[in-house]
Structure formats: C-alpha cells, structure tokens
Amino acid sequence: MARRLSPGLIRAALYVAGLMPASVAFAMGATGRLGADPVNAFLRMLGLWALRFLILSLCVTPLREIAGINLLRYRRALGLLAFWYALFHLTAYVGLDQGFDFPVLLADVEKRPFVILGMVAFLVLAGLAATSNRWSIRRLGPRWRALHRWVYPAACCAAIHFILSFKVLRPETLAYALAVALLLAWRVLPAGMRRRAALSR
C-alpha cells in the first residue's frame, strides 16, 4: 500500500498535515477558545512550529548518512513549511499582537536583540523560500548550495530567539537548542568521521 503512494502525494499530504496546527489554532483563537491570552498562545505556537519544521529539514542529511533513509525529496516541503510558519508568526506579531503599530515595531527591531534574531531568521528563510524553486536551482548552479547553507545561522538565530522568549531557561527551549546544536555539529564533522558513524550502523 505504502509503496504505491507517489512522492507527490506524500508531499501534498505533508503540506496539508503541516498546515493543520496553524489552521486549527486560528479557528480556535478566532472563536475565543484559545485560553486567557489567545494572541500570545497563537504567536508562540506558530513560532514553535516554524522551529520544528526547520529542525526537521535539518534532519534530512544526517538521517540519510547515518540511517540510510533518504527523505531528500521532502526537504523542500519541510523548509517551506518552516518559512510559512515563520511568516504566520511574524504576521500574528505585527497584526494581532501589535495592531500594526509600526513606530513601536520599528523601535523593537532596532534595539532588541531578541527581536533582531527573530527577524534575521525570518529574512533568511524568506530568501531561501524564494530560491527554492527549480528555476533558481538551475540558474544559481553551484552558488545555490552555498546560499542555502544560510539555513544554519538562521536555525541558530531561531533557537536563541526561542530561548529568549521566556523569562527563564526552560527544559523545552534547551532541548530545541540542543537539537539545533547537534544537527549543526554534524555538518562540521570531518567527512571521514561522518562516514565512520554511518558505517557503524
């Protein structure tokens, strides 16, 4: 049964399932069923899902090298879902939370490292999303790979932004930061060590 599912179908299912948390939360929030502080709850869940999809997209390479599972054909979908959630998160912040108060928003971006980190992560994801199509890949050639390595600093910024969004260090923020750190550490391991790790499976 699973063998007969085409990658295209799985990708479509991934988008539908991936956008489900945002749709459900939006419907609940718009109808007053998202708790005492609905805008804040919505904002946080959108940001968290952006980080989750970002981390999932970073899992694709190590998963292939270590476990031999090839999910490359779904990586773009995961990256794009991360971008969409980052966009929803930013839109919810600008619109629902701050009520499009641009002077306050600009002052925030200007002086708060917490906000700057989030903005940097978003801008990078936007650039990567814009160049994620076949045409850009062909056109940019070898530069495309270099460009898309910007996902690493973006993930760092997102993880630190998540840590700073709470008053104190929390187990879940540390767990996400640790996941990002391990996934990036894998990238800087010498190729020989990566191959050995892969062979020992």
């Binding site: 609940m28 109808t31 007053g32 005492a36 306050v104 917490f114 104190v168």
Partner: protein, 271 residues
C-alpha cells in the same frame, strides 16, 4: 471558602474585573511550575493551613500571626489593576487589609528602612521548588521600602472574588502592590522582616538588568526584550479580536497616589 468584604474607599471604580476563571487559571507561580496553567493544576497538594506569619526584625514587638487571626481582622475589598512584567494585565477584586495596619502593631524601630518578605519553602508540596531546574533561589523573596510598605494602597490579600485565596493565587496570604509589576506581589508569605539594608529579591537576583528592586509599572522604561508601553488585557471574550492592546499607565494608573514616593529619583536608573 466564601469570604465577604465590602469595597473599601481605595477600591477602583470604573474597572471591569477579569473573569474569575482566568484570574485563577492563568497564573505565574513558579513554585508550582513554569506554565501559566501549572499553578491551578499542580497546587492541589498544597496545605495553606495551619499557617502562621512571623513579623520580626527591626520592630519593638515582634509577633507571630495565625492565619485565622488575619482572616478575623476587618477586611475590605479592593478592585485593583494588576500588570504583569510580561505585558499582560488583569483587574482583580482582592480581599485584604492594609499592610500598614499590621506593621504599626509591631512598632517599627527608627532604624527600619525596608521590609523583606519571604514565601514558604515546601518542595514536597510545591513541585517547582523540587525541580532540577534552578529557576529562582527558593524561597521566593521580595522587598519594599518602608514608606512603600506603609502606603495605604499596599495590602496583604487573603481572598479574591468573594472567597479565600485559592492555592494558585498565593494562599493563604500574599502581598498586593498595585502600582508595581506583579512579581512584587509575593505569595504564600511566612515571614516579614524589617531591615535597615535593602533585602534580596528573587527576580532581581536572577536577572538584575531585567528586574529592578522597585519594579514600578512604567510604560517609558522597557524590559530589555519587550516594550512596556502597552499591555494585553487577559480574559477578554472574543478571542483574537476581543480586546486590543491598551496603553500601560505610569504607576499602573496609581500615579496620583504614589508618584510622590519617588520624587527626585531617576526612574530609568531605579527601575
């Protein structure tokens, strides 16, 4: 338990109380966990009785008050704004009495300049205190200058919404200082100590650049990570589109009564 009290002269007018459900299920009380829902969900094993509050330090007559004696005092209802440092706000009908009345009974000495408050330490009943994560130095501690503590707006609350304090709101007795950020309102108090030097306070110890000793609500002085200019009212019905952010008022709307306490002080430095 039901607890009745008539509104006092200093109770706010023209304020709409936050729904009871939200005021008692959206709480910061890290002794029970980091989530807003933790205090209501995880405070069931907490025993607010028997309970005593020791008042000591630089006073002529140190005393230990039993909670029943505190509840038997003349109580009044105070409808106050509550502004959290996280930029959300509520309006809560507290029941309590002026801290000044209690302090006068113990007769502060001339050398007393500050009042230090300490919460109960009960890791067995408070899972947040038992946590591996060392979020704050337990027990929670807060402090006020003596003149702030003696201000008629400063109360010890033993109830809210016509009943005794639920565990998650700081049972059985807590501090309420309406012109300061909510974290100054130390909960489940066991000790009040008058001192000559400024006492340690829990959040100031944790991050002195983010949480000052004074912690007066001030829309002009931002938290390093977010603006304090506006606030999200909690519990407005209608979800996302229920109530927009509202401007935060200097001293949380109590400037007329308390601004004089800080005359000549640089409130940016003494935040």
């Amino acid at each position: 338990d039901p607890l009745r009290a008539a509104p006092g002269a200093l109770s706010g007018t023209g304020l709409t109380p936050t729904p009871f459900q939200d005021a008692t299920h959206y709480n910061n009380f890290y002794e029970f966990g980091l989530e807003k829902t933790d205090p209501a969900e995880r405070s069931g094993d907490f025993h607010p009785r028997p309970w005593t509050v020791r008042v000591e330090g630089l006073v002529a007559r140190p005393r230990t008050y039993d909670i029943d004696a505190l509840l038997a005092r003349p109580l009044e209802e105070r409808l106050y704004r509550m502004r959290c440092v996280e930029a959300w706000s509520m309006v809560i009908p507290w029941i309590g009495f002026a801290l000044a009345d209690l302090l006068k009974e113990v007769e502060p000495l001339g050398s007393a300049k500050y009042v230090a408050f300490e919460s109960v330490l009960r890791p067995a009943e408070m899972p947040g205190q038992d946590s591996m994560l060392h979020v704050l130095d337990w027990p929670y501690a807060e402090g006020l200058r003596l003149d702030e503590a003696m201000h008629p707006l400063t109360i010890l609350a033993v109830g809210l919404y016509g009943r005794t304090l639920p565990n998650q709101n700081g049972a059985p007795v807590r501090l309420v200082v309406p012109w300061k950020y909510g974290f100054k309102g130390i909960k489940s108090i066991v000790r009040i100590r008058l001192t000559e030097t400024r006492p340690r306070t829990a959040w100031n110890d944790r991050a002195p650049d983010e949480y000052g000793f004074y912690a007066n609500v001030n829309p002009a002085v931002d938290h390093p990570r977010w603006s304090q200019a506006t606030e999200r009212p909690i519990g407005a019905r209608g979800g996302f589109f229920g109530a927009a952010r509202q401007p935060t008022l200097p001293f949380n709307g109590y400037a007329e009564q308390v601004a004089g306490l800080y005359a000549g002080m640089d409130l940016r430095r003494n935040f």
